[in-house]
Amino acid sequence: MFSRKAIIRLSTVFAIISWVGLLFTDLSVVFSATNNLKPGISADIPPVMLSLFILSLFIFFKYRIEKAESINFVDLLWKVFVTGLITTIVSLAFRLFLNLLGSTKLVQNVIFLDFIYLINLGLICSFLISTFIVWKRLILYQKSKFLLTVWQIFEYSLLFSLLYNVLPIPAVRDLEEYYSVLLVLMGVFLSANMKWVAYLNFKQKWKSILLIALAMFYLGYFAFTLFSLASDIAASTAAFADFRSNVFITSLIAFIFIYALFSLLVILFNLPTSSVFEQKLEEVVNFQRLSQSIQTEQSEERVYDILLESAVSTVFADAAWIEISSNGQKSQFYTQGITVKEIEAIKKHISDNNVRGVLDRSSDKTINLNKYLSTLKGSRFRSIMAFPIYVKNQQLGTLALLKDVSDGFNKEMTKIIDTFTNQAGISIENFRLLSEALENERYKEELKIAKRVQSSLLPKVLDHDGDYEIMAFSEAADEVGGDYYDSYRVGKYKIALVISDVSGKGTSAAFHMSQMKGIFHSLAQLDLSPKDFLVRANKALSFCLDKASFITTSFFVINSKSKTVEFARAGHCPTLFYDAEHDQASYFQNKGLGLGILRNDEFGNYIQTNTFHYKCGDIVVLYTDGITEAKNAKGEEFGYERLQKFIERVHKKSVQEIQKDLIRELYEFSGTRSIDDDYTTLIIKFK
């Protein structure tokens, strides 16, 4: 409903009004009482004013301190100190004024004393309540549901006590003392919550001790001042707002004093161990740095640097080194506070003394052997601790830590550094995996380029006469493959046609395929007969192919003038021919031998040439063994017969349709689109 600022302002105004109200009512009550006049104002009014004043202050500080963002403990204590300082200075100023007046009549005047008393009461109330809110934040740091409930009971009981003063029911008044005791006991119980102390570092602890001690001093001063003033006034009249009978103020003084005392003692006793806590915190931070190094760092070197730094600062080592030894290569050293020469001396000393386990590659676990350095003369160091760094179960290197005192490392340190080296190993392993993944990504990109280049080696359009239609389709099992087809116009009516399949598949096949293209385009120009072409291609390839590679090829010369096809087969799948006149398809059964199988002059003896005349409607199907050897789920091959039956079935369709149907039939047969060999078809239909 109201903004925080409005509430703060409003409560300030209320606090001032209620205090001024308290001042005038209480003064008038005291005046009437001391002068035996009939009181114009009831004696019950001042306590009501006091309660209202306290309530306003409570709201003011609650919003002022509790809602603030900062949870810096020293800042909070600083607030307590400053509030205390200001109120004390104001109070001291009045005391000075009082002293300056000496023992004049005014000082004896109970009205004047009451005035001074009420000022002090106002000041102590602000100090108490602001401190109370700060204590609340400290106690409820790391709260549990139980703690929160207890605190709320305590806080409401305190506020309820304000009502107590306002309603002067005699029977209840008798219980006042018990009520105060109950509140104090609750305060003591809550005062056991000191978790915030652990989070202070050494310097902050000293500051806190100072601030709390000063706050306690203010409290003591105020309590003393008020008590003396109150007893002075009480000597003259009982009818004034005596804080001594106010449950709220007395309980609050007790609670604030108890918590301050507890805090002071706890901080004081925690001082010697604060370095341990700080060290633990640093270990966690270092560990986190190591874990994060994998994502942020650019190199393994940085991981080693961080490991070295973290290890040294965590166990307060005087020197350290990391030795990274890769097989057959000189060891690499990362050092801190030590030279490589000293390292060599220490290593020699240790191996001379036959100490196994420290810096020993062969042992699976290097251990903490403090004493062995004590016999090393001329060295500054007296204890050593070494750990292996493992990556993928292989020791990559060693981390060694040194101290210039003997027995400098304890079991705790061993554990911590062991975790550090393990984490560093994981970081390095991850780092390497990441690099590998990037490298693989690069290879994939390279293969994509290779695929593009290779697909450009296959012609988009095959040269042909109006005498026939021609259509080709090719797909590689991997990114690149070894299938090849091409055409070359030899003369006006003459076209040379080739289909090839390199043995094997993948990259090596792709290289040989490109050689075949070169050979085809060189030899086709010479207008050779199919046999001559194959003999020369075999000779050329004898110098190009590796020992176990060969290329199967069929070479055709289509003459549209004489309507003949002359062809020869070099180990390639037999050509399928559909004879439209007899409405049947068959494979040409001429002999042949793959290119590169026989790398001498005898090759020609194994090649047979064949010629046929074509008529309208005849179809020639060229293909590679990826088609006939395509397997289905049962392990059956697509085979020659299925291909033959297929062409007899679809012979009426156009080449485009025949090709589409064939590919579809192939995929349906194999049940998958990933056929594990390169496959190519080339279909010619004569008009």
Partner: protein, 112 residues
Amino acid sequence: MVDIKRIKEGEYEVIAIKGEVDASSSIELDSAISDAINDGTKKLLVDCTSLEYISSAGLGVFMSYIEEFKKNNVNLVIFGLNDKVANVFGILGLDQLLKIEGTKMEAKALLG
């Protein structure tokens, strides 16, 4: 994928191939043949009774030894090819260069 065994039978050495020979398993076939040659075997029998499939890379292994057999006077006979595998040898033309027989008896008889 493939199981290749070398069995010594008197003066003959039998290389028995079981399963499928493709690009990756052809390396095993290659090392079996090359080991046999290095051991000084002159009469080599290749038992293909249990050979179910051979890829072009597998054929390339046989092909690559033709010259070496001639040079070292090694006689190699392949036997027991099933129809499908025999067809693959035939299409490529390897049946014209390699000695292929039906049974082990025939193969031994050929080697003498």
